[in-house]
């Protein structure tokens, strides 16, 4: 006998149905008893739903705000991965809700394709392709003031480690110096001669060459390989989803970054919503705070409702409110009132804040219900 047929008639969420089904399968009641149980569950479910008109936003704000006061002010913490710095606690939460375009510690978690994930050497190979290698890491660079030239002595050992060939190196250097100088190769040593007889040009070229990225992705400053269960996972300092997803050996579908704006750009608004929820939950959990996901989901929904990421604050959700009084009550009171006066804006007093300010009943809960009597209509 299957209980699915009984459950099918009730519009319960899938996870609730699954839970009831498991419990029923354990108890194995008769069909009529099972029906009664499911019916009672459905009643309980209905009575647990949020009432229409409930101030869910306020409840969410309080529910996230209160534990927020207990978060540590200590910003840096070595989380999970050794030697990798990640912003945590309140500053991180603010960063998430503000949708910062450049988070203070961008980080990626890169998972690898099956053929690379099992083997440490193969994982290292992928890591080399990702981690930015500067010219100064694989070569000795010196300025010769008398000759007005820069000598670059490639370090064979370092290059072998990185799996980099002389030809690749030459190509990169040639690309970097372009017209301003010329490259001469002597016995495996590169000499860059500046065409213009200027000390400044020479030093500028020198600085440029030192920071020249000869291999890897510019944004990724460091890669750390860690074994997680059966597979090797790469953690990076710095983030560039677009470039990393094109690297051979990377399993793009399971590669994530903590830069929410980047996720929005590469994967769209829905992925950004998921990312906001995941990041907020993990930030709160790491601090040992328990906040119901429903509150965070509501916040994420509000932030993504318009199809673009809006921050919670003056430049986003709160600043785009239609009511002048509601905006003035939040931040920059004088500016808002003055601007509204100059533009001749009208406040229709439809929201909560405005009505509290002028002392009217607010449209929430029972205040949101209006009775309409239809006189003379008989049914």
């Amino acid at each position: 006998m299957s209980y699915d047929a009984i459950l099918k008639e009730y519009p319960l969420p899938p996870s609730v149905k699954q839970e009831i089904k498991e419990e029923l399968e354990r108890l194995k009641p008769k069909k009529n008893v099972a029906k009664k149980i499911v019916d009672l569950c459905y009643q309980a479910y209905l009575s647990n739903l949020i009432e229409p008109g409930e101030a869910v936003g306020i409840v969410a704000a309080q529910s996230i705000g209160e534990p927020g006061t207990q978060m540590t002010m200590r910003t840096f913490h070595y989380a999970g991965v050794a030697e990798l710095n990640v912003t945590l606690g309140l500053p991180r939460l603010i960063e998430i809700l503000d949708v910062r375009k450049n988070p203070s510690t961008p980080m990626m978690t890169i998972r690898l394709l099956p053929e690379y994930a099992k083997d440490r050497d193969k994982a290292r190979e992928v890591a080399n392709r990702i981690e930015a290698t500067h010219l100064k890491d694989v070569a000795e660079i010196e300025v010769d003031l008398r000759e007005m030239s820069i000598t670059i002595k490639p370090d064979r050992e370092a290059m072998n480690k990185k799996d980099l060939t002389i030809d690749e190196l030459r190509e990169k250097i040639e690309k970097s110096i372009k017209k301003g100088a010329e490259l001469i190769e002597e016995k495996g040593i590169f000499v860059v001669k500046v065409k213009k007889d200027s000390y400044k040009v020479l030093m500028d070229t020198f600085e440029e060459l030192k920071e020249l990225v000869v291999m890897g992705i510019k944004e990724i400053k460091r890669v750390i390989i860690r074994k997680e269960g059966e597979e090797y996972v790469l953690y990076t300092e710095g983030s560039s989803m677009k470039k990393v997803m094109k690297v051979k050996g990377v399993d793009f579908t399971r590669t994530i970054t903590n830069d929410i704006y980047e996720i929005y750009e590469v994967l769209g608004i829905e992925a950004a919503r998921t990312a906001i929820i995941n990041e907020a939950i993990s930030t709160l959990e790491e601090q040992g705070l328990e906040v119901d996901v429903r509150h965070i989901m509501l916040v994420a929904d509000v932030m993504t409702a318009d199809g673009e990421l809006r921050q919670i604050g003056r430049h986003g959700v709160a600043g785009e409110k239609q009511s002048i009084l509601a905006r003035a009550a939040f931040e920059m009171t004088v500016n808002n009132l003055l601007d509204a006066a100059v533009r001749g804006e009208v406040d229709y007093l439809k929201g909560i804040t405005e009505n509290i300010i002028i002392g009217q009943p607010i449209k929430l809960g029972t205040g949101d219900v209006e009775l309409i009597a239809r006189l003379g209509v008989r049914r």
Partner: protein
């Protein structure tokens, strides 16, 4: 998408773990949905036509996209967004 080594592979953004399933709703389904929710099209949440996933499924402004999310509370939840410019 083309890899550095010249090896090319079809990778769909929708395969990513963070991206839920997006589908374009048919005309009849849209009408049914709006009737059920008692809202007009414009009252639905929006999604930009420039959104990478919208481009991938080829939705045009005015279409309604059905999004089947994995929900932490309900298991599966369905969401609708109107494609806008």
């Amino acid at each position: 998408m083309v890899f550095k080594g010249g090896r090319s592979m079809k990778v769909s953004l929708q395969d990513h773990v963070l991206v839920p399933k997006h589908e374009i709703l048919k005309e009849e389904e849209v009408e049914e949905l709006l009737k059920l929710l008692r809202v007009s099209k414009e009252q639905l949440p929006k999604i930009k036509a420039s959104d990478p996933i919208v481009k991938e499924i080829g939705a045009k402004p005015g279409d309604v996209v059905k999004i089947t999310r994995k929900s932490l509370t309900a298991g599966v939840s369905i969401f609708y967004r109107l494609v806008v410019e």
